[in-house]
Symmetry: C2
Subunit: 197 residues, 2 copies
């Protein structure tokens, strides 16, 4: 029994859904399944009845729920009372292309602000070719870029996600007749692409 598992259990219980919980907790549904399974094995009982494609919390689950909440609350209390890490404060400046910002950032910003109300977030849209220099100078704290060839030396880089590149054309464009399109077929076409990505 670990706090991580109890928290996962609590979120599942709140939503009565493994899938929703996995989204809230930003992890794979299979991982939620695995954690609940571990907890059930540890306590040697069922926490949820799987009825069709829904789940219902069991009596034992109900009992565990209040304990899980208490323990979760207690950890928050610990962090606020024991820890001398006063709430993070200051500002965080992030550079991200609009395409990324509009899709991914809303949820992230919302959550971040909930957890760090005293941190001011500065989001700068569109990328910049001077990224490395900007990062090193401290003008920006982190950046998201869309590329497959980053090899900065003094900067931490982490691959987060891969995206497919989709070609869309007018129905009357000759390309829309073809079953598959090669790069060379694009010669001479006007392309609408995210600016500096």
């Amino acid at each position: 029994m670990e706090i991580r598992q109890l928290r996962t259990f609590r979120v599942v219980a709140d939503n009565l859904s493994f899938t929703k919980a996995s989204k809230i907790l930003y992890m794979a549904q299979s991982s939620v399944s695995a954690q609940i399974k571990l907890l059930e094995e540890d306590l040697n009982l069922k926490l949820f009845d799987r009825i069709g494609r829904n789940i219902v919390i069991t009596d034992a689950g109900q009992k565990l729920y209040s304990y899980a909440r208490k323990i979760e609350d207690m950890t928050k209390e610990i962090r606020s009372e024991v820890s001398n890490s006063q709430q993070a404060q200051g500002s965080l400046t992030i550079r991200a292309p609009e395409t990324i910002a509009s899709v991914y950032m809303p949820d992230i910003v919302k959550e971040f602000h909930r957890d760090n109300p005293q941190v001011k977030l500065n989001l700068i849209n569109c990328t910049d070719l001077q990224l490395k220099e900007e990062l090193n100078s401290g003008r920006i704290d982190l950046a998201f870029v869309m590329t497959d060839s980053i090899n900065f030396t003094d900067v931490n880089v982490k691959m987060l996600k891969t995206e497919n590149l989709i070609l869309m054309s007018h129905l009357e464009n000759k390309l829309s007749k073809k079953k598959s399109v090669l790069f060379k077929d694009l010669a001479g076409e006007s392309l609408l692409l995210p600016s500096t990505d």
Copy 2:
């Protein structure tokens, strides 16, 4: 912050010693160090002041202590109230050679009995060449053996430890004059060995 870490912290705090805690928790001292370090980094504060070869709990550590106890107690409460795993009961029959039993078993038996007061432990001294058959028949539940060549098929085998074999002889024995002894040097000597190990 995980329950495991809080428990380790509590034991360290109770004993004011990483080393003692590691023995109580049956883990390496380096692992205790690592867990406390993780906890300190997580909470962003020092839990113990390292004064020479001793440690002293800090104010923050003192505060955390009561929370850690509460959470630990709560997990016990969960197990007794929520879990339907009634205390393990029954009996467990173990075969182990005296040499192992006398050195390792006392502590293990003590702890096991604390955690499982309703389980009767049967320790059978000395090994037996019919181990596999005994295990399969259920006459014994588990066995400790000293050997380096176990390849039973229907039995779970796990290597727990390696032990050095030490040669001791009377001072007047000719072997005690030699700097190193080979197996062939033992020819013709009477050897005192653990019976069937």
